[in-house]
């Protein structure tokens, strides 16, 4: 019996449309109306400026630990831009720019990172899951949402985000496998930012690409220049259209870079070189897209000022939020509060009213407890 080839050689494509100087491969340029290009750029700028502001707010102790997005704006927005509001977005914990685009308000995001669960409550009708912190565990949810949408006969696509580190988790592989078997309308967007805290991609996987992992599950995988918003957009639009047409799930690997810290408690100088960061700074997605818009004469004067004003107003509103009402912690544990929680709520209410708790210092202004990988901040 001879050995036979069961599958032809797989191919994994790489897509890049706009290089780091803003030069365009015109044959691949997606057809995006000028107004949409301007909205996209503004969203990227808002993501960048809010990120910078949030780092200052964290250093001042006004919000807790969070995961900055600097450098990943194109990966997030090029992808999320292709969704309809009625589609679902399933973030991990580093998708602030995409979440803003999907309708989360700046105040809500700040509240969330200041330890208020109110900040994780999507608006009525908003088809977004809140931040998921345990790595890759949100991906099966996206597959279940997509199954349910298909089951109900809804014309709905689910887009889920994760990072390169997540591709080592079992939930990533289980989610891809289920999505493939069920042929559901899910788009997996992997933001390969090269580092899972201190562990570089080469220690995370021996695969040449992350995109090729999709092929083992029978779904297409595509690698794109994640700092090129046009490439991310083009790949995502294709994947979303495929999903909506009933042609199943897709994985998109966005090759990008976390220009900043893992979280505000991380010190990347310990594990990577300044030269590496500088090399990626030259590939900044905002600079590149800005140059493209400049050539098209689509860059508005005063854009940065208007974005900063929007952030400043939101920060002001955030600052007016009063201390968290401790008794509300009992409101959403169950649909109907069971007897033992009624009793515990009464106990806490009495304690706050009459007991030593009434004089206890308000701790709500302090940063929330550490996230995965956090060390005590050195500054």
């Amino acid at each position: 019996m001879p050995r036979t080839v069961l599958e032809p050689r797989f191919q994994v494509e790489y897509l890049s449309i706009l290089d780091s100087d803003g030069n365009l491969d015109a044959s691949l340029e997606p057809d995006i109306p000028g107004e949409d290009l301007k909205r996209l750029y503004r969203a990227m700028l808002l993501g960048r400026r809010l990120d910078e502001r949030m780092i200052r707010l964290q250093r001042q102790g006004r919000i807790g630990t969070f995961a900055p997005i600097k450098g990943q704006e194109a990966s997030q927005l090029g992808a999320a831009f292709t969704l309809r509001p009625s589609d679902w977005m399933v973030p991990s914990f580093r998708e602030t720019a995409a979440m803003l685009w999907r309708g989360w308000s700046i105040e809500k995001l700040l509240l969330f990172f200041a330890g208020y669960l109110e900040g994780g409550q999507p608006a009525p009708g908003q088809n977004d899951l809140p931040v998921t912190i345990p790595v890759a565990t949100q991906l099966p949810h996206a597959v279940g949402l997509a199954y349910a949408a298909q089951y109900r006969g809804d014309d709905t696509v689910v887009m889920a985000f994760c990072g390169d580190g997540a591709t080592s988790e079992g939930d990533f592989h289980e989610a891809l496998n289920f999505a493939g078997v069920w042929h559901v309308p899910t788009v997996f967007v992997v933001q390969n930012n090269q580092w899972a805290i201190s562990v570089p991609l080469k220690k995370q996987t021996h695969s040449r690409t992350i995109a090729q992992k999709a092929l083992a599950y029978g779904l297409p995988g595509l690698q794109v220049d994640g700092n090129d918003v046009l490439a991310v957009y083009a790949a995502s639009r294709e994947a979303v259209e495929r999903a909506r047409a009933g042609d199943g799930p897709t994985l998109i690997e966005c090759v990008t870079y976390r220009l900043g810290v893992h979280t505000t408690a991380d010190d990347p100088t310990k594990y990577r070189t300044a030269e590496e960061v500088e090399a990626w700074e030259r590939k900044d997605p905002l600079t590149r897209f800005g140059a493209y818009l400049q050539k098209k004469n689509l860059l508005d004067d005063g854009l940065a000022a208007s974005v900063d004003a929007e952030i400043a107003e939101a920060v002001q509103r955030f600052e007016t939020v009063g201390p968290a009402d401790a008794l509300r912690m009992f409101d959403h544990a169950y649909g109907q509060r069971p007897a033992h929680l009624d009793a515990q709520r009464e106990q806490l209410a009495a304690w706050l009213r009459d007991g030593a708790g009434a004089a206890a210092p308000d701790t709500t202004a302090h940063p929330s407890p550490p996230m995965r990988g956090q060390r005590s901040t050195r500054r």
């Binding site: 999507p122 565990t137 949810h141 279940g144 949402l145 949408a149 409101d331 649909g335 007897a339 033992h340």
Partner: protein, 326 residues
């Protein structure tokens, strides 16, 4: 009205709830064509098709994880984990997500799913097929933990679990699946979650049990009545969490004595919370220390030694007599 065993009673609950509500679907390993390894989902795929009775790939985390996603969308998945011993591969999805989505989203989302698992020993099975580990789920805020003890309450509790707005972990004792038949009404019946039942009234000692241990507790009560002239009150918990403390406390206020029986290992098991709740509510009525009869604190010892570990009639009787004589 038909005489059904637990398997048929659970099957009836699923069938009727799926007929009533298109949002109810069943998912798990071998639940479709095969009808489940214990046949609880038998023939459902014939009636409802493979989109509603899903033979999933073999991956517990994704069964629960995708179930969470379906529930977030508004469906009511009933997920089967083939044996509770394998549920640690999806424990993170239960603890991190199913139990927390309502809280995390501040009421915007809920996860109305049921996670069914066969549990318990006494069936001469290998490791991971014989454990009782309800305490892990009972400990998680946001979850409900239900353990029926017979065909009729199994059927009614499963219907209630499916209709409940919150995630419910539903334990089915393997030794009870075919142990006995009971009259089960044709029309749909429910039982409130979080409510225990006094299944035998008595004035001298309260025996608290659930699942397969209920039968042991009832036998102990009958023996005590015949041989000792002592009348034991027997409480069938039915729901472990939220615990029906009021029923426990009212009973011990009357009897002054309590013996808790469970198959889970003793330390940090449900008996500890039950005993503490009785102490909180009925301390001044207590005439004796609260006794616990449970499996020994060892990993599953193999079924050749299982009988020496899982509580049985002699051990429960001994504990009750010691309590009565205190």
């Amino acid at each position: 009205m038909a005489r059904l065993n637990v398997v048929k009673a659970l099957n009836l609950a699923l069938l009727q709830e799926m007929e009533r509500d298109e949002d109810v679907l069943v998912m798990g390993e071998d639940v479709g064509v095969d009808g489940g390894v214990f046949r609880v989902t038998e023939d459902l795929h014939r009636t409802f098709g493979s989109k509603r009775v899903i033979d999933s790939p073999l991956a517990e985390a994704a069964i629960i994880g995708t179930g969470v996603g379906m529930a977030l969308y508004g469906l009511r998945p009933v997920c089967e984990i083939q044996f509770s011993g394998f549920a640690f591969q999806c424990f993170h999805q239960i603890e991190n997500h199913a139990a927390r989505y309502r809280m995390r989203s501040q009421g915007r989302f809920s996860v109305p799913m049921v996670i069914r698992m066969p549990y318990g020993g006494g069936v001469r099975a290998l490791e991971h097929h014989s454990e009782s580990e309800e305490q892990f789920y009972a400990h998680i805020p946001g979850l409900k933990m239900v353990v029926p003890s017979g065909p009729r309450n199994a059927r009614a509790l499963l219907v209630s679990a499916i209709r409940d707005p919150d995630p419910v972990v539903f334990f089915e004792h393997k030794a009870l699946y075919h142990a006995a038949k009971e009259e089960v009404p044709d029309e749909i019946e429910t039982l409130p979650l979080g409510r225990a039942q006094v299944v035998r009234e008595g004035r001298d000692v309260t025996l608290v049990a659930y699942g397969a241990m209920l039968r042991v507790a009832r036998e102990a009560a009958e023996t005590l009545a015949q041989e000792d002239g002592a009348e034991a009150e027997v409480i069938d918990l039915l729901t472990i969490s939220p615990l029906d403390r009021a029923t426990l406390v009212a009973s011990v206020q009357k009897t002054g004595r309590a013996v808790v029986v469970h198959e889970a290992v003793r330390s940090f098991g449900p008996g500890a919370e039950i005993a503490a709740s009785i102490m909180d509510g009925a301390f001044l009525s207590l005439e004796a220390p609260i006794a616990r009869v449970a499996s020994w604190d060892v990993p599953f010892p193999g079924f050749a030694r299982e009988k020496a570990s899982v509580p049985d009639l002699p051990r429960v009787l001994a504990a009750a007599r010691e309590t009565l004589a205190f």
